[in-house]
Amino acid sequence: MARIIVITSGKGGVGKTTTAAAMAMGLAQRGHRTAVIDFDVGLRNLDLIMGCERRVVYDFVNVINGEANLNQALIRDKRCDSLYVLPASQTRDKEALTQEGVGKVLEELGKGYDYIVCDSPAGIEHGATMAMYFADDAVVVTNPEVSSVRDSDRMLGILASKSRRAETGEEPIKEHLLLTRYSPQRVERGEMLSVQDVQEILSLNLIGVIPESPAVLNASNAGIPVVLDIESSAGKAYNDMVSRYLGEDLPMRFVEAERKGIFSRFFGG
């Protein structure tokens, strides 16, 4: 049975889809059969970030409604054999994701995969609750900024109460904190909450710190998950995060401001 990972956040636009794409690709690259599902019905961004938007024929809702079977809807990644994408529907109403329907699809998928990564919409609306309901693990994506941190804490409350695991009294969902768009320079200047600050406030297991990086926009422009850009800081940080998820003990990188040379310190700022 596959392990189900939900990528979630209270506040929107913090980097969930970027993370879902990176984590799914990272797991698949390490040889795990992985499916990544877009739960953001109506918006549908994951296929763009994965670079498979032109190969979408059927979607998640088609499968739930029995208009297509899973194998027709799943798109195999061209770069990695063990990665498949299940795109979201663009037009249907959000209620199309029924708990029963989602449960069935996840169960069927679960037989053939090691990991199922669920890219959730932000907040607590219907699609988000569906994405988290069946989860075994949650990655709570957070920016070092007041409203994002507060909303992440709210998500923790919901993960702990409104999930299958909570309802059946099983071991609770394993929650991980992923801090994204981190800028060590701004932290050093005292303008931005630090990793330690956020951890102190949320007291969660920290699975990674992804620095603010132009490579993320470049990657999304090209439809390539940033984890494949192994030269970039964000790509390296996402790779570390995947390894940590799989049990490796790695130190956090890119959390200290780079020491600039004396010239750039005086002239470049």
Binding site: R150, D153, R189, G190, E191, M192, L193, S194, I201
Partner: protein, 89 residues
């Protein structure tokens, strides 16, 4: 510590991040207490209000219920505001 580091350290204190942290700590503690309070509280509040109103003419918001929890104890605090005078039947 070099001269530049001294500048840096003094700048750090002036930054707004420490303020953000302080505010968040208070807010998150409050949110968590609110989440953890027993689900019967609103009903309890309603029923107490109904009982009080049998005997005293009080406003609909005269009863407030506060719940607090720390490691060792749970505190249920009831506050009932009675009218100034002449309200008693």
């Amino acid at each position: 510590m070099g001269l530049l580091d001294v500048f840096r350290a003094s700048r750090k204190k002036a930054g707004s991040a420490s303020l953000a942290k302080e505010r968040l700590q208070i807010l998150v503690a409050h949110d968590r207490a609110f989440r953890n309070r027993p689900s019967y509280l609103p009903k309890l509040q309603q029923e107490i209000l109904a009982v009080i109103r049998k005997y005293v003419e009080v406003d609909m918001d005269a009863v407030s219920v506060n719940y607090e929890q720390d490691e060792t104890q749970e505190i249920l605090e009831l506050n009932i505001v009675l009218p100034d005078s002449g309200g008693r039947g």
